[in-house]
Symmetry: C2
Subunit: 471 residues, 2 copies
C-alpha cells in the first residue's frame, strides 16, 4: 500500500509535494517570526479538484491540513504545529483571474491571486478593487477571505467580507461547494458564505470567489491635520462623515510617540505639521466628479473644523507624490517598530463613543504600571480600530522586558477592551496567537456555539486544528 | 403537574398567553393569505429572559416554536403548521429603542420595534436608518433581520444584514447569546451574527440588535426616465454608478404592462412620461452637500444619457410631493396586482450581465407557452432584483388558471433563473413557500451543509420547523 506522500504525489505530481527541509522551510515560519512549525509536506495544488482530492485523502488518513496563502498573517493562523504530522496546503498556484464582469461590477478569481495583482487587473479596466493593506504585494485573496482582512479602505468599502458575493469552498469531507454567484441579493437559506469567510480555514478551504468592484475614483485629495485630543479627533471624523459621507475614504490616526519613532528610523518621514502635535490625522477624500469639486469640499470642511477648533493645523498634499508620502508616513510606523525591536501588538476595536475614555484610561494605567514604556498607538480611527502597541522603555532589553511583562500588558489592554465593549481582534484574526484569549472574550455561549459549528462541519478536526477554536 | 399553558402563563402572565380562537386568529394567517395554520397558543414575551424561559420550556416539552414579528413576510415563514401543536412567539411587546449613539452612528433596539418607528427615531436625531420597504409601517426589525429584508435602499446601503453590527439571540437550548457590539471591525471567530441573520428563526430567535445609522441626506432628487430596452437600462445604471456613485440611492424599473395595470386600478397614478415607453425607470440621487450640487449632477448625467441615446424622455420631480408621487407609482404596482386578483409572484435576482437575456428569453417562452398571460415585471433593477410576476390572461378565471399552470410557470421562471446564474429568492426568503424548491436550487452540497447546521444548532428541531430547510 502507498503511503500518503506517494498518494499526494499521484494527485499533484511529485514536484508539487515538497518534502525536503530546505523546500519546506519558507512555509513553516510566520511573517512576524513568532511561530515556526513542522510539516509532513507542503502541497501545491493547481485546481479545486486537486484540493478536494487532497482533503479526501487527508480525511481517510486523519492528517491535519493547514491552508495557506501568502502567509503574511499576524496571528500564526497559517503556520503548522510542531507535530510534523500536518500538511500545508498552499494555494499559490491557483492564481487565475477568470473574469471581470463590467456590467455586474464583479471579478471572479481563484484563491491564490495576489491582492495587488487583483487591484491592478481591476484598475486596468477602470475599476477599483478596494481592499488595500500593507501586505498587498504578497498576501492572497484566499487568505484575505479566510481572515476577513481589513486595511485602509474599510471606512468606505467594508472588510473583505463586505466585498465578497460568491465563494467556492472545499469542505472537510472533500466536497466542493459551488457558491460562485455574483448577486447583490440572495436570500436562499443560511449564509454559508459568511460562515466560511473569517473562519481561517478551520471550517472549509476557500478555493475561488466572486468579489465586488467599484468605479475607479477620478481624483483623491489627502490631508494631514493636527488635533489636540481624541475627543476632537472623533468630532472631526463625525464632521467629515456628515459633510463628505461616501467621499471619505481614509481617516488614519497617528500619535506623537508613533511619529517620533518613525522619524528616528526614517528621518525622511518627518511630520510636515508644525509643533509636534499630540495627534496627527491623515484624511483622504475620493471623488468621481472633478478635482475642483473634491478640493473645494475638502477646503470647506477643514475651514469648518478650524472654526470649531477641532484642528490646529492642516497640510493638503499638493500632488500625488506628497499624498503618497503622507500614506508612507502612516505605513512606516509598523516598519519603524520592527527596526526598534520586539514590541507587543494589540489590534483592537473600540466603539467610537468609548474611544476617548479607552485611550485616556489605558495610557494612564500603562504608564503607571510600566514606567518608561512607549505607547505606539495608531490606526484606522474611522473604524474605531487601534493598533495599540507597546514598546519597552528605552535602554531596556526588549526580549527580557516582553518575557517579564507580556501577559500583564495584554491583560491590561484586553481588560480595558472588555470594559469599553470592544474587540481583541479587529482585523488580524485569531489564529493560534489569540486562541486562548478568545474563550473569555467571546463568553461561554458564543464559544460553545463556535465549537458546535466546528464539530458539525469538521467532526474529524482535520482543517487547521487548534486555530480559532479548539475542540 | 402543570400543562404547558399553565407554565407559559407562569412565565409571561396569563394575559400574554393567547389561547382563545378569536385572540389567536390574527396571528395565524400570513399577509398574502396563502397560508393559515393553527397554534396551541400565541405567546407575547416582554423580555429576552422570558423568551429564553419559553424556549427552555418548549425544549423540555418538545413544542415547536414559530417566531413572529409584524407577520408581513411573503413566504409563510412566520405562519405555523396545521398541527395545532406549535406555539407562536410574537415579539411585538419587545419594542424598546435603547439608545442612539451619535459618535458611533448606531442604534440599539429590541426585535419588536416597528421599522418605521426606527426610521423616525433616527431622523429626529438627523440620522438615516436606510432600511425601507413597503411593509415598513408594520414589519419589525427582528423579522427584517430574520429574513435579511431588502427594499429600495439596498443599492446604496445593502440588505438588512449589511446594516447590522450586533445581535442578541436566544438559542434552541434557551441560552442567551449576547453579541450586542457596535463595532465596524471584529475578527474574533466565526460569524455567528450573519448565520442567524436570514435564517428565518430556524437557528435561533433574534431578540435585540445594534444597527448602523448614516447621516441624513440634505437633499434628494428623483427622476423618471424612459428606456427602450433592458440593455440600455443597464448601460444607464452603469453610467449613474460611475458618475453619481454613492449618491445613487434608487434605481427602480417598471415595464409598460406593470404601469398599465397600475393605471387601470389607480388612474391618478398615470405615467408622466409621454408615449407609454417600454420601460420606465425611477432614479433617485441623495446628497449631503447642496440642492444645487445634486440637481446639476443629475442634469449632467441625464444629458449624457440622452446623447448616448440610452433614454428617450425624462421628467425630474419639481418638488417633494412629485417625488413621492413617482415612488407611489412604483409601490402601487403590488397593490394594483392585488386588486386585479390572484397572480404568481417571483422574487428573483439575475446578475446584471445576464438580465437582458433573461428577460428577452423568459418573456418569449412565457408568451409562447401561456398565450395571453400578462407579465408584470418590475423591481429593484439596480440590485438585479426583479419581481417577475405573472397575471392570468384577461377574461380567464385567475384561480383556475393558477391551479392549472402554477407549477409549470414557476418551473419555467426558475429554470431560466438557473440558466442565468440567478437566485430564486432575492429578498423575500424561503419560509414554507420555497422550501421544496430550495434543494434543487442550492445543490446537494449546500443543502447538506444547511441541514448539518440546522441539526447542530437545533437538534430537537423545535425552532420554526419545516421552514427554510427540513431535517
Amino acid at each position: 500500500m502507498q503511503g500518503p506522500i506517494e498518494q499526494f504525489s499521484a494527485i499533484l505530481g511529485k514536484q508539487y509535494v515538497l518534502i525536503e527541509d530546505q523546500d519546506k522551510a519558507p512555509y513553516l515560519t510566520d511573517w512576524r517570526k513568532r511561530f515556526t512549525g513542522k510539516a509532513l509536506a507542503v502541497l501545491l495544488p493547481k485546481s479545486t479538484e486537486e484540493v478536494a482530492s487532497i482533503v479526501k485523502l487527508c480525511s481517510a488518513n486523519n492528517i491535519g491540513i493547514v491552508p495557506q496563502g501568502g502567509h503574511t498573517g499576524f496571528c500564526g493562523g497559517a503556520t503548522p504545529d510542531n507535530s510534523g504530522k500536518q500538511v500545508i496546503l498552499n494555494l499559490k498556484r491557483m492564481n487565475q483571474i477568470y473574469e471581470i464582469d463590467s456590467a455586474n461590477q464583479t471579478i471572479t478569481l481563484e484563491a491564490g491571486c495576489i491582492l495587488q495583482a487583483v487591484q491592478e487587473k481591476a484598475a486596468a479596466q477602470d475599476f477599483l478593487f478596494p481592499l488595500s493593506l500593507g501586505a498587498e504585494g504578497s498576501c492572497m485573496i484566499g487568505g484575505n477571505l479566510a481572515t476577513n482582512a481589513g486595511g485602509t479602505n474599510v471606512l468606505r468599502y467594508g472588510n473583505t467580507r463586505d466585498l465578497c458575493l460568491g465563494l467556492e469552498v472545499v469542505t472537510a469531507q472533500g466536497e466542493i461547494w459551488n457558491g460562485m454567484k455574483g448577486l447583490r441579493k440572495d436570500n436562499t437559506g443560511y449564509d454559508l458564505r459568511d460562515l466560511f469567510i473569517g473562519s481561517e480555514g478551520t471550517l472549509g478551504i476557500i478555493t475561488a470567489a466572486v468579489m465586488k468592484l467599484y468605479p475607479l475614483p477620478s481624483s483623491q485629495w489627502t490631508t494631514l491635520v493636527a488635533t489636540d485630543n481624541i475627543a476632537s479627533t472623533i468630532a472631526l471624523l463625525n464632521l467629515f462623515q456628515k459633510r463628505a459621507t461616501a467621499l471619505l475614504t481614509g481617516f488614519e490616526m497617528m500619535t506623537q510617540e508613533s511619529l517620533a519613532l518613525n522619524e528616528k528610523h526614517f528621518p525622511q518621514m518627518a511630520n510636515p505639521l508644525k509643533g509636534n502635535p499630540p495627534y496627527t490625522v491623515l484624511i483622504e477624500l475620493s471623488d468621481h466628479e472633478s478635482e475642483e469639486h473634491v478640493r473645494k469640499l475638502l477646503e470647506r470642511i477643514l475651514e469648518e473644523a478650524f472654526e470649531a477648533k477641532l484642528i490646529s493645523d492642516a497640510v493638503i498634499a499638493s500632488n500625488l507624490s506628497q499624498a503618497n508620502a503622507f500614506w508612507h508616513m502612516r505605513e512606516h510606523i509598523t516598519l519603524a517598530q520592527a527596526e526598534e525591536g520586539a514590541n507587543l501588538k494589540h489590534d483592537i476595536t473600540i466603539p467610537l463613543s468609548f474611544l476617548d475614555r479607552f485611550i485616556r484610561e489605558t495610557d494612564a494605567l500603562m504608564r503607571q504600571q510600566f514606567p518608561g514604556i512607549r505607547i505606539i498607538n495608531f490606526g484606522h480611527l474611522g473604524d474605531g480600530n487601534l493598533h495599540y502597541n507597546i514598546a519597552p522603555p528605552l535602554g531596556s532589553d526588549p526580549k527580557a522586558f516582553n518575557l517579564a511583562h507580556e501577559k500583564a500588558i495584554h491583560d491590561l489592554v484586553y481588560g480595558q477592551v472588555e470594559r469599553c465593549q470592544g474587540s481583541i481582534s479587529a482585523e488580524h484574526g485569531v489564529g493560534q496567537l489569540k486562541l486562548d484569549d478568545l474563550r473569555a472574550h467571546k463568553g461561554e455561549v458564543a464559544h460553545e456555539l463556535m465549537k458546535t459549528l466546528k464539530r458539525a462541519l469538521d467532526p474529524q478536526n482535520i482543517l487547521n486544528p487548534r486555530k480559532v477554536v479548539s475542540i
